[in-house]
C-alpha cells in the first residue's frame, strides 16, 4: 500500500487505536506505535525511491498530493527519524502524565509530516505545517518545563503565519494555491516580500539566528524521546521551506547584479541568507560551548547546523546545494543519534546535566559508541556523513571566495570539536560517580537497536555517499541546477576529488593503529582532583570537575555577557506586549463609565473635524 492518502488515514486510525491500547497497557500501545510507524516507513521506502507512490485521492476530495524528489527526500529522512525514535516509546511513554495522548500526538504529527512533504498546493502545506505545530506542541510540556511549549508555539506560529502571508501574496498574483504556479508567477517586489516571509518561516523553524530562542527551550525540555524528533526531524521543515524561498523564488529575480564587482555572484537576498546563516553557525557554536545541559548543548548545535544548511542553500551552486541536502540527512542522523544516546543515559540515570554525570562508558559502552559516532559526524570528521556535506559546503564557500563566511564555517567546525567533546567527556568519560555505580545498566535492546542502525548509517553516509548523492542530483536537476559529478567512489569537486571510502579506509587504519598503541602502551595514572586542569583554567578547590564545569571558562568569559541579548530581546518584546495590554486595560477597561463616553466623543469629534472643516 503506498497511497499517500491511505497512509494518512492509516495514521489517524492507528492514532485512535494507540490511544486505547496505551490506556490499557502503555507498553502495548507503544509497540503498536512502533509497528504503525514502521509500516508507514516501509511503504514509503518500498515504493518511493522508484517514484511509484500512489498520489491519487479517493476518500478526502479536498486533498491532492504529488511526489517530488525533494519532498520525498525530506519525507523519508524524517519518517526514518520518527521510526527510530518510536523504538524508545515502550520505555518512556508510561511515565508521562498523559501517556495515551503521547502516542496519539506522535502518530498525528507523523501524519502532518507526510501531508507536508507530499502536498501539491500551499494550502495543504500550510494545513499540515500547522497540524505538526500543535500536535508536537502538545507533546513538549510532558517533559521538564511547561514554558518550553509556549516559546515553541510562539516561534512556530510566527514562522507559519509569515509563510501564510507569503502564500497569500503568491495567491493574489497567481490566483491559485498551486506550488509551482505560485512560485513561477512571482516577480519584482512581490517576489522579495514572499522571499522574506518564507525566510522568516524557514529561520524560525530551523531555529536560525534571529529566531533561535525556542530551540534550547524546546529541545532541552521536551520529553527525552521527543527531542531527537524535534532536532533531527521537525527542524528540517525549516530547511524545506528554505528550499522554496532561497532556491525557487529568487533565482529568477536577482536583486542586484554583482557581475561587475568583486563580490561573489549571488543575489543580495541569498547573500543575506548566507550571512545570517554564518551568524547562526557562530552563535550556535558559542552558545553550545557554554551550555551545561547536554540536550540544550545539542540544541544549540542544531542551530549552528541549521546555519550550515542556510549557508549552503544561499550560495546556490550545485555543490553547495548538494552539500546542504546532504547535510540535512547527515545532521538528522547525527543529531538523532546523539539525542537518543543522551535519552538513553537520561533514562538510566534521570538527568541530562553534565555536571551531575560521569563515567557512563563503564556501564553503557554501546551508547557511548553511538554518541561518539554521532558527534564525529556532527563535527564533520571523516569517515562520517557530516564530513561529506561539510566538504561540499567548504568547497563551495571557498569557490565563491567568501572569506568571512569561510571563517565562520571553519569556526563552526572547530567549535564543534570543542562542544561535542564536552558531553562525551562529561557523560561518558571521567570519574564514575558513586551514586550511579550500582543501579545503572546498559540500555535495553529495543533502545539499542535504533541507535545502532543510526550509527551504521552515520558511517555508511560517510563512506559510500554516491547513492545518496545520486538522489540529490535528481533534486538539483529539479531545481534547475547542474548535478554534482560523482562516480561510484569519487565526488568530483571544483578544487579536487574526494574519495570518501579511501579516506575512511585510511581513517580506520589510523584508528586501528591508535587502538593498538592504546592497548599496548596502556598506563594511566591516577591524579588528585587538584591536579586536573583543562583549557588553561586552574582548579581552585577540590571539586568533581571531569571536564564539565567551566570547561572553556576563559573563552566563555569573552562573550558570556552577550549571550542573553536575543533572549532578552524577545522577553522585552513579550513584556512590551504585556505593557500595551495593561495600558489598553487602563485606557479602555477601567471602571469609569466616563472613559467609554470620552472615547465615543473623541472618535466622533475626530471624524467630524475631518468631515466638516
Amino acid at each position: 500500500m503506498a497511497n499517500i492518502e491511505l497512509l494518512l488515514l492509516f495514521l489517524l486510525a492507528s492514532g485512535i487505536v494507540s490511544y486505547f491500547l496505551t490506556k490499557w497497557k502503555s507498553f502495548v500501545g507503544s509497540v503498536f506505535t512502533i509497528f504503525s510507524t514502521m509500516f508507514v516507513f516501509a511503504s514509503l521506502a518500498m515504493y518511493g525511491f522508484s517514484g511509484q507512490l500512489d498520489t491519487t485521492v479517493n476518500v478526502i476530495p479536498v486533498l491532492s498530493f504529488a511526489q517530488t524528489n525533494i519532498g520525498f527526500y525530506f519525507a523519508i529522512i524524517i519518517v526514518f527519524v520518527y521510526l527510530m525514535v518510536s523504538f524508545f516509546h515502550p520505555y518512556f511513554v508510561g511515565e508521562y502524565k498523559y501517556k495515551n495522548s503521547y502516542n496519539v500526538m506522535f502518530l498525528l504529527s507523523l501524519a502532518g509530516v507526510i501531508g507536508t512533504f507530499f502536498a501539491d498546493n500551499f494550502i495543504q502545506l500550510f494545513f499540515a505545517f500547522e497540524f505538526i505545530v500543535w500536535t508536537s506542541m502538545l507533546l513538549i510540556p510532558m517533559g521538564k518545563s511547561k514554558k518550553a511549549a509556549v516559546s515553541y508555539y510562539g516561534f512556530s506560529a510566527a514562522g507559519s503565519f509569515a509563510m501564510l502571508f507569503g502564500i497569500l501574496v503568491m495567491r493574489s498574483v497567481s490566483g491559485s494555491f498551486d506550488i509551482d504556479l505560485g512560485l513561477a508567477s512571482l516577480a519584482g517586489g512581490q517576489a522579495t516580500l514572499v522571499f522574506v516571509m518564507f525566510l522568516v518561516a524557514a529561520f524560525s523553524k530551523l531555529g536560525a539566528f534571529p529566531f533561535h530562542i525556542w530551540l534550547p527551550e524546546a529541545h532541552g525540555n521536551a520529553p527525552h524521546p521527543f527531542s531527537p524528533v524535534l532536532s533531527g526531524a521537525l527542524v528540517k521543515l525549516g530547511a524545506f521551506v528554505a528550499v522554496f524561498a532561497i532556491l525557487r523564488i529568487m533565482p529568477s529575480t536577482p536583486l542586484i547584479d554583482f557581475a561587475n564587482s568583486n563580490l561573489p555572484h549571488i543575489p543580495l537576498g541569498q547573500y543575506a541568507v548566507v550571512i545570517l546563516g554564518s551568524l547562526s553557525i557562530v552563535f550556535g557554536t558559542l552558545m553550545a560551548i557554554k551550555e551545561d545541559d547536554a540536550k540544550k548543548l545539542l540544541a544549540y548545535s542544531s542551530m549552528s547546523h541549521g546555519g550550515y544548511i542556510l549557508v549552503a542553500f544561499g550560495i546556490m551552486t550545485s555543490q553547495a546545494v548538494a552539500g546542504g541536502f546532504y547535510h540535512i540527512l547527515a545532521h538528522a542522523l547525527a543529531s538523532a543519534g546523539a539525542f537518543m544516546a543522551i535519552a538513553a543515559v537520561a533514562k538510566q540515570t534521570g538527568t541530562t546535566k553534565m555536571s551531575e554525570l560521569g563515567g557512563m562508558i563503564h556501564k553503557m559502552p554501546i551508547t557511548y559508541i553511538v554518541y561518539l559516532v554521532a558527534i564525529i559526524s556532527m563535527a564533520g570528521i571523516p569517515p562520517m556523513g557530516g564530513f561529506i556535506s561539510k566538504w561540499l559546503i567548504f568547497q563551495a564557500v571557498i569557490d565563491k571566495g567568501m572569506i568571512f563566511v569561510a571563517i565562520a564555517v571553519f569556526f563552526g567546525s572547530i567549535g564543534s570539536f570543542l562542544y561535542v567533546f564536552r558531553p562525551l567527556a562529561a557523560l561518558f568519560l571521567g570519574q564514575e560517580l558513586r551514586e550511579y555505580k550500582v543501579k545503572v545498566k546498559e540500555a535495553p535492546f529495543l533502545m539499542l537497536l535504533p541507535m545502532l542502525i543510526i550509527t551504521a548509517l552515520n558511517v555508511y553516509t560517510g563512506v559510500i555517499p554516491s547513492a545518496i548523492l545520486n538522489f540529490t542530483n535528481g533534486m538539483l536537476v529539479d531545481l534547475g541546477l547542474a548535478p554534482v559529478s560523482i562516480t561510484m567512489w569519487d565526488i568530483v569537486g571544483t578544487t579536487g576529488t574526494l574519495n570518501p571510502a579511501l579516506i575512511a579506509l585510511v581513517f580506520g587504519f589510523g584508528v586501528v593503529i591508535a587502538f593498538i598503541i592504546f592497548i599496548v602502551l596502556k598506563k594511566s595514572k591516577k591524579v588528585t582532583l587538584m591536579e586536573t586542569y583543562t583549557a588553561g583554567n586552574f582548579v581552585h578547590d577540590e571539586q568533581l570537575l571531569h571536564y564539565t564545569k567551566d570547561f572553556y571558562a576563559p573563552l566563555e568569559r569573552l562573550y558570556i555577557k552577550y549571550t542573553t541579548i536575543m533572549k532578552e530581546f524577545y522577553e522585552t518584546l513579550a513584556v512590551k506586549v504585556k505593557e500595551i495590554g495593561r495600558f489598553g486595560k487602563y485606557l479602555f477597561m477601567n471602571k469609569f463609565i466616563g472613559t467609554t463616553i470620552l472615547w465615543i466623543i473623541a472618535i466622533l469629534l475626530f471624524l467630524l473635524v475631518g468631515e466638516v472643516l
Partner: protein, 464 residues
C-alpha cells in the same frame, strides 16, 4: 404560511407574559418555548419576507427570513436551548427574563426595519442586563446598562438622521433609495458613524466596550455563555446585516480607513490585553473582544460568508470555554490561571473538549477555526488588505501564545489538585460541540454548500 417566522418571536413573548403568573410553570414554559422555536426554525419556517400587520414595506414592519438570518437564528436558538437546558435548575427565577431575551434576539435577527431593530435592541439589552444581575455584581450591570443605553441612543440618533434624510425606516427601502439617488457618501458620515458606534457598543468593539470586563469576568454558567456566545453572535449578525447593506455605502475613502484602523487597533490591543491577563475568564473575554472585532472587520470588507462562519465557530467555542471555566470557578472559587492549574488532569474528557475549542479559536488545523481563518485571510488577501492581514496574523501569534500558556496551565497540576465535577449534561454538550468543530474542520463540504446561498441573499437585500 410565510408568516410563521413571526412565531419565533410571538411564542417566547406569549410564554413570557404567561410565565409571570406562576413561578412553577415558568421554567417549563421556557423549555417548551425554546424547543418549539428550534423545531419551528428547522422544519416549518420558510424563506421570504414576512409582512406584519398587512402593510408592505416600507410602510409596515417586515421580517427577513433568508439564509443569513436563518443561519443566525439556527446558531442562536440552538445554543440558547442548550445553555438553558444546562442552567434551568439553578436559575429558575430568570425564566421569564430568558423568554423575553429569546424573543428579543430572534427579533433582532429577523427584523428588516431599523427602528424595530432599536426596539429589539432595547428588549434584548434589558434582558441582558437582567441576565447579568445573576453575577451579583450590580455595579458591573449598572455600567453595562448605562453604556448600553448610550449605545442604543446613539444608534437611534443616527437612525433618525437617516430618516430625516431619506424619509424611510426600512433597511431595504433606504438602501435602494441611497443607491438609486447616488447619495454622496460624505452626507452619510455622521449618521453611519453614530450607528456604527451605537452597535459597536453592543458588539463590544474596542474603545466602546468597558462594560464587557465587569460583566464577563464574574460571569456564571448562565450569563457567561449567554453574553459571550449567544448575544455576541446575535449582535454580530445584526451588525453584519447593517454594515453590509447600509453602512458600506458610507464607508468609503477616509472614513473606511478610520474604521479599519479602529478595528485593527482594537484587535491588536484586545489580544495584548488578553496576553497581559492572568485570570482565565479575562483571557477569554479579551479574546472574544478581538474575535468580535475581526468579525466586524470582515463585514466591513464585505467578506460576509466567512464572517458568518467565524461567528458560528466563535459562538460554539466560547460556549464550551465559558461553561467549563465558569463551572470550574464556581466549584473552585477562583479563576486565576495559576490556581486552576491541572483542573483537567481529573477531567480528561472536558479538558479535551476545552482544548479543541481553544485550538479552534486559535485557528489550528483539523478544527473549524482553521478553515474559517484560512478562508477569511484568503479573502482579505484577494482584497489586497495586506496591512489588515498582517495585523490579524501578528495578533494571532499573541493569541496563540496566551492560549497555549493557559492550556498548559490548565492541564498540568503544580501542587494542589483542583477538584471540579462536571455533570453529564455538561459533558454531552461539550463533546457534541467539540465534535461539530472537528467535523466542520475536516469535512468542509457543508460550509461550501452554504457558500452561494449566503452571498446571493446578501445581494437580494442589496438590490432591495
Amino acid at each position: 404560511m410565510s408568516s410563521l417566522a413571526v412565531l419565533l418571536i410571538a411564542i417566547p413573548l406569549i410564554a413570557a407574559f404567561v410565565s409571570i403568573l406562576s413561578k412553577k410553570v415558568a421554567p417549563y414554559l421556557l423549555l417548551i418555548a425554546s424547543l418549539i422555536n428550534v423545531i419551528l426554525l428547522f422544519y416549518f419556517v420558510p424563506d421570504g419576507i414576512v409582512v406584519i400587520g398587512g402593510y408592505d414595506l416600507p410602510y409596515g414592519i417586515n421580517l427577513f427570513v433568508d439564509t443569513f438570518s436563518r443561519t443566525g437564528l439556527g446558531v442562536v436558538n440552538v445554543l440558547f436551548l442548550v445553555i438553558v437546558l444546562l442552567n434551568i435548575v439553578e436559575f429558575k427565577k430568570y425564566s421569564s427574563v430568558l423568554l423575553v431575551a429569546l424573543a428579543g434576539l430572534n427579533g433582532l435577527l429577523l427584523t428588516g426595519d431599523l427602528f424595530n431593530l432599536f426596539v429589539f435592541l432595547e428588549i434584548s439589552g434589558i434582558a441582558a442586563y437582567l441576565i447579568t444581575t445573576s453575577n451579583h455584581k450590580p455595579l458591573a450591570t449598572f455600567r453595562y446598562l448605562i453604556i448600553g443605553a448610550v449605545g442604543s441612543s446613539l444608534y437611534l440618533f443616527g437612525l433618525i438622521i437617516f430618516y430625516g434624510m431619506f424619509g424611510t425606516l426600512n433597511l431595504m427601502d433606504m438602501v435602494s433609495f441611497i443607491q438609486a439617488n447616488n447619495v454622496d457618501p460624505s452626507a452619510l458620515v455622521l449618521p453611519a458613524m453614530l450607528m456604527f458606534i451605537g452597535l459597536g457598543v453592543e458588539a463590544k468593539l474596542l474603545p466602546f466596550n468597558s462594560w464587557v470586563k465587569g460583566v464577563l469576568k464574574d460571569s456564571n454558567t448562565l450569563s457567561g455563555p449567554m453574553i459571550a456566545a449567544v448575544y455576541a453572535a446575535t449582535i454580530s449578525f445584526v451588525f453584519g446585516r447593517i454594515i453590509n447593506n447600509l453602512l458600506t455605502l458610507a464607508f468609503v475613502g477616509n472614513l473606511l480607513i478610520v474604521v479599519l484602523v479602529l478595528l485593527a487597533v482594537g484587535i491588536f490591543i484586545a489580544e495584548a490585553m488578553a496576553f497581559a491577563s492572568t485570570k482565565v475568564r479575562e483571557i477569554l473575554l479579551y479574546s472574544s473582544i478581538a474575535q468580535a472585532s475581526i468579525v466586524i472587520l470582515l463585514f466591513v470588507n464585505g467578506i460576509v460568508l466567512w464572517a458568518v462562519y467565524l461567528i458560528i465557530a466563535n459562538a460554539l467555542s466560547k460556549t464550551v470555554m465559558f461553561l467549563v471555566i465558569n463551572k470550574a470557578t464556581k466549584d473552585h472559587g477562583d479563576d486565576e490561571s495559576d490556581s486552576l492549574q491541572g483542573v483537567f488532569s481529573k477531567n480528561i474528557l472536558v479538558g479535551i473538549t476545552f482544548s479543541v475549542a481553544t485550538l479552534s479559536v486559535m485557528g489550528l488545523p483539523l478544527f473549524m477555526g482553521f478553515v474559517v481563518k484560512l478562508n477569511y485571510l484568503t479573502e482579505l488577501a484577494v482584497g489586497a488588505q495586506w496591512a489588515l492581514l498582517a495585523v490579524i496574523l501578528i495578533s494571532s501569534i499573541i493569541e496563540g501564545i496566551y492560549f497555549v500558556r493557559m492550556l498548559i496551565k490548565l492541564w498540568y497540576p503544580e501542587k494542589n489538585e483542583v477538584t471540579v465535577k462536571f455533570d453529564l449534561g455538561f459533558k454531552v454538550v461539550f463533546v457534541a460541540i467539540a465534535l461539530i468543530l472537528l467535523a466542520l474542520g475536516t469535512y468542509t463540504a457543508p460550509l461550501n454548500t452554504l457558500d452561494n446561498s449566503i452571498d446571493t441573499i446578501a445581494e437580494v437585500i442589496d438590490n432591495g
